[in-house]
Amino acid sequence: MEKVRNVETDEKRFIVNGKNYKIKIEAHWTLAYVLRDKLGLTGTKIACDNGACGACTVLIDGEPILSCMTLAVECENRSILTIEGLSDGARLHSIQEAWLEEHGTQCGFCAPGMIMTTKALLDRIPGPSKEEIKEALSGNICRCGNYDHIVASVLSAAKKMRGEQHG
């Protein structure tokens, strides 16, 4: 089989959490690998590495994608938001606040992906029903089985975000 490794591309420009990065990448590198191993953004987790669990979810131009299944070269010049870019300095995002209050995490390994998927959902539907939440998050696995607390976290986050928008 022909080997694809060591095929270095030109320098590529990425916009991650509002910051510009220019790095040389290899053609087969996934976005998850570049974020974690090259940019040190280890908040994005790799759990299954084949698109079955949602732990690696980040937003590209506001859309949730699985960064373990996305080649980094495809993301050139696109705006990538990871869990590290969600809070504003020490101030937590409403979704993170809700997650804390409602015990949305147990071990925490699914949380970055869950929270990024939730961000995309609430940007699209500010007041989702339980069914809409479950549908939107059904691709994110939580092996602690903490789903009821996660749904409560999303409902609480939606309330907080609507309050902020109106207030």
Binding site: R5, R36, D37, G40, L41, T42, G43, T44, K45, I46, A47, C48, D49, N50, A52, C53, A55, T82, I83, E84, L86, S87, L92, Q96, W99, L100, E101, E102, H103, G104, T105, Q106, C107, G108, F109, C110, A111, P112, I115, I133, K134, E135, L137, S138, G139, N140, I141, C142, R143, C144, G145, N146, Y147, D148, H149, I150, V151
Partner: protein, 760 residues
């Protein structure tokens, strides 16, 4: 402590929650160090083989490779005999994963493939291929050298066992006599939970670094100090030369207890940092459990009293995995859960080796599969006796004071500290609508039939180890709390910090927990047997109480009051019954800059003979489509008695986890192998499917009975594994109640149901 509590019993946020929701929590896999080397493992293509020859020269010459390891140069880490597809043949350490992987392809191995056995029943036959040539595939007992016990003498006044002798069987009395006295005997066999497993979000692995004569290991763990000690023992290093760093573990559920000796051995040779992270497929090779084959015979009196019980129970452990879980077979028998009237008990149990994948403990640790056996046959008995299944449990479950007959020493083997099962049953009956909705299967009609099933469980706060806590209080009423307990998602860092806050009378926010490595913490028990809150919690309480006493002694001198007249609230010292604070911590401390309290609990801490146990009654409401075989869980009500819930949301989360894993066992979970090669076919989450957010509606009930249990300073008993034990039998019993079909093997897939209905 008084009953007015300010932090205990509140769902305060996770102590390390901010790190977890911001992505700042560093799990071992997030450790990225300069010039770090990576490991890839070459794995066996055969289910059973010997390595005749291995030539690693090609891999060693490959650019970027630093070390190639096999049984030839690392005989303690690798074996020349292989026992499952995926077993470890050799490893390459290289500058990156891809180089290591390519170099693995250059290792030339000559194998001598041997016959293998993949099925438990087959493995038990005398002429089956042996997994290990030097020993049979079947081993009686619960570990190498661990035997069972026959209980021979009772205290005539208390009725508690006072003497036991080593035996091939576990139990007491004379079962033949017991069955001859029984009015009704109910027996069933071939009850089996599938070989299945927990999967965790975080895959296994570690990062190891040997520098300046010290070894640092970043990994997941259930016990930081246990892991350190195991590494020290294996590599014959002084414990103090090793630092195990594990602030976060991405789920474990009993399974992440492995020690990764390959990267550690490599760093000890190379003095460079070495990282190993399993792929999901590699992750699936370790950590199976549950595979069981059971037979149970129960003897009842007409009125429902269970007086005699005989059990035979075998557990699959793959090629010599964890055989300790089989020990817990006693838990749901007349030795504990049904100790009320049982006078005669005989348990024969042991493990079976196969060429499937390594078994490791998991959530419940041997109990779910024996619960499935016991509670299925109890359900059968209820129908045969004509006694409501709830009522049959009420007649027979243990009460406080009933004798236990576990493999523990008899002096710590006396009785359970409290019984909350009556209340669990009452609450579950009410919430599930049992009395209104329960109908006999004979009354069910139509293609889609609904049914109710229930059962009981008992679990938790098992064998304690040594636990320590250090609480350092500053004059500003903040405390630093050093504790080596692992938080694997179950909330130990939070609950232990709550205890410190409550005892010291300072705010939860002002308790800073130091827990991330062995260098900075005292020894703590590993978190197993759901004992963290109980065992470590007592040490934590003692440490905080000691600091509190010292502070009040200082304040007493300053204020000219007796210490018992003083109290601490919101970080200020008050004279009891007055509204205004008498002094601050700083005033009491005077020139002292720190007060240190130490607390310890010891393994023999239970010599008082009182055991705390989490207890539960589960109620399942299912619908079964008799045309398609589809089984739907309409409502699942787990009712768990936990003494006191120190943090109700965390307790609820523990119940969700247990039930979620239990439902997976009931409906989906099964190790499937290619019978021709032994290769695993369920190697990732696409073919070993997890339940998702769309599949689970669980309505947990936490039962707290204030003042009932005195074995813990705040009345907590245990909470964790108990919720998984009863799930499979509760679902199986509901399916029977819906259809009259008794499914005896998990998972309860549509094909099994349709076959039993005679439709396919």
């Amino acid at each position: 402590m008084g009953e007015e509590l300010s932090v205990i019993g509140k769902s305060v946020p996770q102590k390390d929650g901010v790190e977890r929701v911001t992505g700042k929590a560093k799990y071992y896999g997030d450790v990225m160090l300069p010039n770090m080397l990576h490991v890839k493992i070459l794995r066996s293509p055969y289910a059973q083989a010997d390595i005749l020859d291995i030539d690693t020269s090609g891999a060693e010459a490959f650019p970027g490779v630093e070390l190639v390891m096999s049984f030839k140069n690392y005989p303690k880490v690798f074996r020349g005999d292989l026992h499952y597809v995926g077993d470890e043949v050799a490893a390459v350490v290289a500058v990156d994963e891809e180089t290591a992987e390519e170099a693995c392809d250059l290792i030339k191995v000559t194998y001598d493939p041997k016959p293998f056995v993949l099925d438990m029943k087959e493995a038990m036959k005398p002429d089956a291929p042996r997994v290990f040539p030097d020993r049979p595939n079947v081993r009686l007992g619960w570990g190498p050298g661990f035997k069972w016990f026959y209980f021979s003498e009772k205290d005539p006044i208390t009725g508690l066992w006072t003497k036991k002798e080593e035996s091939d069987f576990h139990g007491f009395g004379d079962v033949q006599k017991g069955f001859s006295e029984a009015d009704v005997i109910v027996e069933d066999s071939d009850l089996s939970q599938a070989y299945s497993r927990v999967t965790t979000m975080e895959p296994r692995g570690c990062v190891a670094s040997f520098e300046n004569g010290r070894l640092t290991v970043w990994t997941h763990t259930q016990g930081l100090h246990h892991t350190r000690n195991d590494i020290a023992k294996f590599f014959e290093l002084p414990r103090t030369k090793i630092n195990v760093v594990s602030p976060y573990t991405g789920g474990s559920f009993g399974g992440k207890v492995d020690k990764f000796f390959i990267p550690i051995a490599a760093t000890l040779t190379l003095s460079k940092t070495v990282k190993l992270v399993f792929t999901r497929e590699e992750e699936m090779l370790r950590g199976w459990a549950r595979g069981s084959l059971s037979r149970a015979k129960l003897g009842f009196k007409k009125d429902g009293r269970l007086i005699a019980m005989e059990v035979e129970h075998w557990v699959e452990v793959g090629p010599d995995g964890d055989s300790y879980p089989v020990r817990n077979v006693f838990r749901h028998t007349g030795a504990k859960l049904y100790a009320r009237h049982c006078q005669h008990l005989k348990i024969k149990a042991g493990v079976v080796f196969t060429n499937r994948f390594i078994s490791i403990g998991w959530h419940g640790y041997g109990t779910p599969e024996t619960n499935f056996m016991m509670e299925t046959v109890m359900d059968e008995a209820a129908y045969i006796l004509g006694i409501d299944p709830v009522e049959l449990r009420r007649i027979n479950h243990f009460r406080k004071g009933d004798p236990l007959a576990s493999p523990r020493p008899v002096q710590v083997n006396a009785q359970i500290s409290s019984c909350g099962l009556e209340e669990c049953l009452d609450r579950g009956v009410e919430k599930s609508g049992w009395n209104k909705k329960w109908k006999h299967p004979g009354q069910k009609r139509g293609a889609i039939r609904e049914g109710l099933g229930m059962d009981l469980s008992i679990h938790g706060a098992g064998d304690g180890f040594f636990s320590t806590a250090i609480v350092k209080v500053s004059p500003d009423a903040s405390a630093s709390f050093e504790c080596g307990i692992a938080d694997i998602g179950q909330g130990q860092h939070t609950v232990q910090s709550q205890i410190v806050s409550e005892v010291l009378g300072i705010s939860y926010e002002n308790v800073h927990i130091v827990c991330h490595d062995t260098d900075s913490t005292p020894y703590s028990t590993k978190v197993g047997s759901s004992q963290g809150t109980w065992h470590q919690g007592k040490a934590t309480y003692d440490a905080a109480f000691s600091a509190r006493k010292q502070i009040l002694d200082l304040a007493s001198k300053k204020l000219g009051r007796k210490p018992e007249e003083l109290m601490i609230r919101d970080g200020l010292i008050y004279v009891e019954g007055t509204a205004n604070p008498a002094c601050t911590f700083a005033e009491a401390f005077d020139s002292l800059s720190m007060i240190i309290g130490v607390g310890q609990t010891f393994p023999d801490g239970r010599e008082e003979g009182i055991y705390p146990k989490e207890q539960g009654a589960h109620f399942a409401h299912c619908s079964v489509d008799t045309e398609t075989g589809e089984i739907k869980i309409l409502k699942y009500v787990p009712v768990q008695y936990v003494g006191r819930a120190l943090n109700p949301k965390i307790v609820e989360g523990q119940i969700f986890s247990g039930v979620y894993h239990g439902l997976e066992c009931a409906l989906l979970a099964e190790c499937i192998v290619d019978p021709k090669t032994g290769k695993m076919l369920t190697y990732n989450w696409e073919n070993y499917k997890p339940l998702t957010m769309l599949d689970c509606d669980i309505e947990p009930i936490i039962v707290e009975i204030p003042g009932l249990d005195h074995s813990h300073p705040f009345g907590a008993i245990a909470c964790g594994e108990g919720a998984i034990d009863p799930v499979c039998a509760a679902i199986g019993n509901a399916i029977y109640n819906a259809t009259g079909i008794r499914l005896k093997m998990t998972p309860f897939t549509p094909d099994k149901l349709l076959k039993a209905l005679g439709k396919i």
